[in-house]
Symmetry: C2
Subunit: 213 residues, 2 copies
Amino acid sequence: MSEATPQPRRGRARRGEGDLLRDDLLDAAEKLLAERGSAKAVSIRAIANAVGVTPPSVYLHFADKDDLLFEVCSRRFIEFGAALVAALEGREGPVSQLDALGRAYIAWGLEHPAQYRILFTGQVDVRGRVEDPTTLPGSMALQVLIDVVDRGMAEGVFAPGDPSRAATALWATVHGYVSLVLTEDEHLPHLDLRGALDVVLLAAVRGVLAQPV
Amino acid sequence: MSEATPQPRRGRARRGEGDLLRDDLLDAAEKLLAERGSAKAVSIRAIANAVGVTPPSVYLHFADKDDLLFEVCSRRFIEFGAALVAALEGREGPVSQLDALGRAYIAWGLEHPAQYRILFTGQVDVRGRVEDPTTLPGSMALQVLIDVVDRGMAEGVFAPGDPSRAATALWATVHGYVSLVLTEDEHLPHLDLRGALDVVLLAAVRGVLAQPV
DNA sequence: TGTACATCAGTGAACGCGCGTTCACTGATGTAC
DNA sequence: TGTACATCAGTGAACGCGCGTTCACTGATGTAC
């Protein structure tokens, strides 16, 4: 597809403007990632071609393929964290906050399928590329959850227990829902997975509640 | 690894005993799948070599690679379905049955990581290989869940609603939990995902309950 | 019992492919004098 | 203002690799006469 229709060669950047190509490579990689749905299906050649440049040029800006893909995801991951935190704004009370977090998490996953898969299904080996494991997407998403759950337990709104384990249960539900929609929705259209969003969220919240709604 | 240390050539099968090799190929493929964790990481060459045979021999028994992998998973999938149904035996009441189903689902997923990934993360394209989509692992697992949920709602034990949507919520939780443990457990050992099993299951069941436990 | 023959499981060599990556290079851009 | 030069973004060709798959073949096994 994109490999078959080579882009016209772009002009070479001015001195000091090498980063323009760098950004364009990241954009192209992200677009291809979203189209193809997996890191393996996106080649250095395809990325270079989409930008109108030859494959070796990529190595002027990235150490290797994993480095490039990791950067693509890093950019979006920062957005992801920000989206979760932003979702809490204006929400009062743990139940409302949990609902907001769940919706924000799912919305982001469904809107960035390729990045979601890469970040959360281990297609790019992220170890060694990040100094502190608590800055990984998983840890971070979970930490925001844990904070809300912790507060909810303290207020007696959520059933008492280990906040990090309750948060794991919530994370499993939203992660599972995103995964199912991304991988099964087209295979199993009769299930109407997308239509179950509200029920899924409600059940997740009810699962940690002290009293029924 | 396995490619580097070729197995001694096996003797050729007797007339009519070609299926022996077929079974051995399936066994070897399954073992490699479990070791490597993904369909792409298991080559026809590696499978043939593990059995002590040359790659073209594989095509005497399978149309192509996807065909072989699909058969590997089919064998286990039948077991999977049986495990879910067997888990219901001796369990009285929807709550106990749901708990049993969840445990059986998760246990199977954690014990067959490679097959689980292949069946539920769309690594092998399964469409066209199966006539009726309701026989796919996803549909089947969900159907067992729906039946239990349906009965629970009829008895007033579970909150009223659309059984298939409530079942989707439950499926999302157990699927998400299995996925997280399989892909994140080694990256994020400090989270103790495995230790959260009971809490996850309890929250899932509580999520659909009419009255709190 | 012995021999010619059909069957069929498996082989060896090769195919074309796309991949990530390297390396010596080109040629435009900017700088120093 | 003009020229020699350093810089540096990007190129072209090639590397070695592993892959799925094909194809003409070999040679052991069983059968018919």
